[in-house]
Subunit: 270 residues, 6 copies
């Protein structure tokens, strides 16, 4: 039976070679050192067998906790963080620290990860009341492609620059979709801390099309942090990504999802 599994895996390896996958780190997994370690190992293996990877992340709850350390109270308008000048400082520093953490873990063995942000995204202010929140005008896909083709793995934090050189906070989910589109990525893998999307009875849903995903949200089967993940996945599919996988980070579930037929998480398709 093991050999059957190996054969399956080899077929997937052949199929994925040379393809570009966007890996999106859910905020909830960023604090667990062990998880980061396991994920880094998986990413290195995928990279080594010839898959082109781009890692995207936010900073999860670190921004808010950092704000509170400085006596600031997080404030959101329709899910988006109001980002005044002081908040921006902590958004940036939190993102960079997370970025360095991910880069550091990947580069332990082989220095292939490159932290990037800012120079990759040209943005403009989104809405005045949100402060320093930007919306992406342009992704420097030429730069990203060249770096990937040279064998490096960009690890991207969602900060952009406007035409005056000012820094802006941008939504990591939106950015992940834009990057996937700009690089013609065939897969987006969203890493989370649960097994995947669960049905009404708490059983893992292996495969899901856009329509069913929307119903799960509407019927409130899916709740909380899984909602933006599903929405981000739906958006990616509509921008040309072929498959979106929502997988548990840790326990090498990424490999289980990508290299076995049953997978280990939830696969979204059109």
């Amino acid at each position: 039976m093991l050999e059957r599994k190996l054969i399956e895996a080899l077929h997937y390896i052949k199929k994925f070679k040379g393809k570009t996958f966007v890996i999106k780190f859910g905020g909830e997994i960023l604090e667990d050192e062990n998880v980061l370690d396991t994920v880094a190992e998986d990413l290195c293996l995928l990279h080594d067998i010839g898959i082109k990877l781009v890692v995207m992340h936010g900073a999860g709850t670190l921004i808010s906790s950092n704000m509170r350390k400085f006596g600031l109270e997080p404030e959101f308008v329709r899910g988006e963080r109001v980002t005044d000048e002081k908040t921006l400082e902590l958004v940036i520093s939190s993102l960079i620290r997370v970025n360095n953490k991910i880069v550091g873990n990947i580069n332990k063995n082989n220095p292939i990860a490159i932290g990037l942000g800012g120079s990759v995204f040209r943005v403009r202010r989104k809405r005045k009341e949100l402060g320093y929140v930007g919306e992406v005008i342009d992704v420097n896909s030429k730069l990203l492609s060249e770096i990937i083709e040279s064998g490096y793995m960009p690890v991207i934090f969602p900060i952009g620059i406007d035409e005056s050189g000012n820094s802006f906070n941008i939504n990591a989910d939106v950015v992940a979709g834009e990057v996937a589109k700009a690089l013609n990525a065939t897969k987006m893998i969203i890493l989370t801390n649960v097994d995947g999307v669960l049905d009404r009875n708490g059983r893992l849903i292996k495969q899901l099309d856009i329509k069913s995903a929307r119903e799960l949200i509407k019927n409130e089967v899916v709740t909380g942090g899984m909602i933006p993940k599903l929405e981000s996945g739906i958006r990616a599919l509509s921008e040309g990504v072929e498959r979106v996988h929502i997988v548990k980070a840790g326990e090498h579930a990424i490999l289980g999802e990508l290299l076995t037929k049953e997978g280990s998480g939830t696969m979204l398709l059109r």
Copy 2:
């Protein structure tokens, strides 16, 4: 006479083509938007005629002013900033904002600047009492070289990563020297807000060897912010850089210094 100048410039252009120059932004010039604009224009021109540029910067006084906004008081031990966790947040955010500002200015016309840091430097904690201050173990010169050879201009902020993925503040001057060495840079250009090194009578010194530079410091002819610049220049020379130029940022003094015989600032040599 103009033609004579053009001929001189053309000879320098021939000579510098394909060479690598490290541009070090002094902290004092980072706040003046006009200066940044002029410098960006100069760097683009130098890049376009075939000189390979790497930009290095710190964050100048921005860190301290940002700290004070948050009610923190900067503290130094023998010239080095004590960097506790809270301070680190503001060090990082200030550096990134400066980085984005420089990148944004350069990229206005042609998106060639890439903000880099973290992934470029492997560091370890320097001295316990300094907190998150790191010393460089390794510069990823392979990555930098490939990016430069692809026609990009790295703009580097002095943050490094230790073996656990933690972020560390590193001294920008030291880093500039290490980068220059790692890339076999032939020139380092230190941008400041004065014309160059002045003698006892306030007259610009056009050319200076290491020995004389040390005497100027010892005899206190040179004081204040110019001291670390001279020291940084001396260190760069001792690590293989052939010429160090201390030049006024703005008024296109970089071009004047590099492309004319008289120069516009001070040139240091061994």
Copy 3:
């Protein structure tokens, strides 16, 4: 646990990429269509993930049974087939039919297998009493390398040509070792119809060095057809091959042996 296996496999894939392996078909497996089918699938997968393969084979019992069909009685002198002119006809035709069978199975999906022999080996008559039995003077490794580098998989039958253009039967085991040496192969995989080398109690021996292998033969723990396999393996090791694997053909045991830590057969090393 599956994921652990996948990780192991991925590490082996990284390690074996670009290496050359010689696959030696034991005669006992050539008649079973299902086995050939499974082996062909395994070889294609190994080829697709970047391992360079050269297949070597004899004709097993087919020569003798073909001879008997034509009323000839096989005759051996110290283990080598006496090959008169009539016998040579049936040696050749049996080898080519086996070669075509293997090539045909591999090429079902992707026409990468190339039957080769004759032009690859320059030989001279070995001993007069053996008739048309040749010994190898030269292997055309340049030709083999170019064909392998172009992405093809040579399937080699042991017939050589002497300086007058006459055809000679050559010992497949000896030839396999010569080819492995000529191509700097790092592994030789000997396919058989049992699990591997068994100890006195009929249990599989996972790993074996040359000295122990020789004792197993001397003490008659190993008998019959396994003896020439072990000897062929020992010879290959002494000619520079790093590892020899004796594996069951079928049930994808090749993959099990190559891509898992426990392996599925017996590994010989120096």
Copy 4:
């Protein structure tokens, strides 16, 4: 006058450089060692001056004489050999021995000839009553081209493989035409043991178009073994070959035919 001849030859060399020629060995020339030697020398020279050669051959009368040695009686249906299992053994062995003979002669100086068959032709059973006689479904022209471009000279025997890996006898003349077509050969050279096509008075016909060739056959001016040669030539012309030459093997008549204006044999054209 010699110089005039040299000039002519040089013009032909210029013209033929980089072109692909198919050389078809008539069965009647295979047994004469001296002839093979001379032909091999000619082919090496043509190869060395930059002509791409593919050699095709059958086994002539060797199959039948080998059959008789084993007490089998050759049987033909409308010119095609009935090939039962036993006959197939001797067809194969005879072809391989001839192949090795040709390869061996060519490779005496420079190992450029490669014996190929089986893996080159995908076939299916032609007609049940003929036994193991195949018809070509596909020629692996990609493989042949790469081998030729690498500087090798394929020497091809007419055995093909069906989808189950079984070996089949195929008609050498038909195969020659298919190979010529698959490789966009501009010339086919048919080697025989007479000077070329003779007219009613026994005089050599230097040039012949398809229509006249057909009349020669119809009017029984051409008889015996020359008929299939002419037919094979006509077929080759109709499949895109520009010129077919029927030339005596030996006495370097190939060079005489190709590199002089008068030629030494018969040239067929549309």
Copy 5:
């Protein structure tokens, strides 16, 4: 202000890199050694910064003075030199001596100049009464391009060859236009001994379109040697050259004209 000039120059350098310019030497400048020296220096600099240059010249008054030395009287029909056999000798020798002079001056530092003529131009006799005066049928632009791409600077004298291998005198102005067209030159620079085209009051005209240029000739504001220069310029513009510059040779006016906004001579455009 100097820096402003340098920036301007750098912008022009960027713009002109990789472009082809035809440099036409007016006859009046050929005798002044100092001028040739300065021009050579300018051409080397333009070449070194990546502009592709082709130099064209006539022999000015040297032909006539050489003729008189040998007792021949120059004769012209509608502006064209009647070239009998004896005259042709002196036309050729004068052109070659000028060519060698220019080549020698350029090659003092770096042997990049190549004297060419004859083999570049296929011509036929123009009008019988003019003797050996040819008109160009074909420019060997493939040869010129390859030489330029290899980093050389052709210096071309206006002699052509007819189909019998005879030498012909050809009009240098016409030839310059043909060469510019054949090489897709974007600029033609006509070197003279005055500042450029002057208006009725003797003031330099900085810029001139075709229509105005024609009026200047018609109204006899422009007279003498400047007329053929203007006409040559107008012809070049009509054959695809984008800009024609009439500049004083010497005092590095070429650089002044090409690398500054005000220029130093007269620029013609459509």
Copy 6:
């Protein structure tokens, strides 16, 4: 027998492919249009089969006859032409007309010949009393090699340039040897109007070593114009050329000499 000749020729073609031959035109053959035509055809053929050719020539008696047309009397000092300014004019024009004649003949079919001189040779004045006679300081072999590698055939006239850009007459024989040396030519072919070197009885000497050649001169068996040819050949051999051939121009004797065993002229070797 013809085929034997073809085989010989093909072996020579293989051997000479990619080699560089210097072709030296004796002055005596330059006036015969038919001869030039035949030689041009031979050179084109040699070029087309892959031999790299460089043609060298003088102007034979044309200079003197041209001088007389202008009333000048040729004057020689120890075999070298006294070249005052007026003589130089006619030396140059005669050489260029011969050069154009040769280039024109070669380029009739394929424009591969390039007239070169001047820019190829850096010279200095040889002896004051000889006037404008130069001796070669440097051959621009880099330029020549690049032009040859691009598939062109330089046709070189013996004029050089001194450091002031002045033109000088140089000895064609000496130049031919220098060029052969600079290009590592393996053969020099000297074209003349007799069959080769003749012995005392007027019979052609097929092969000659340096020692015997010197004796032939000393014993006055060889006289007149053949002496400088032999001396030029001896010099070439001593500068690294492997074989020197003295061959009749016309009747395609070049091909006869190069591509047949007997040759058609005289071969000199060390």
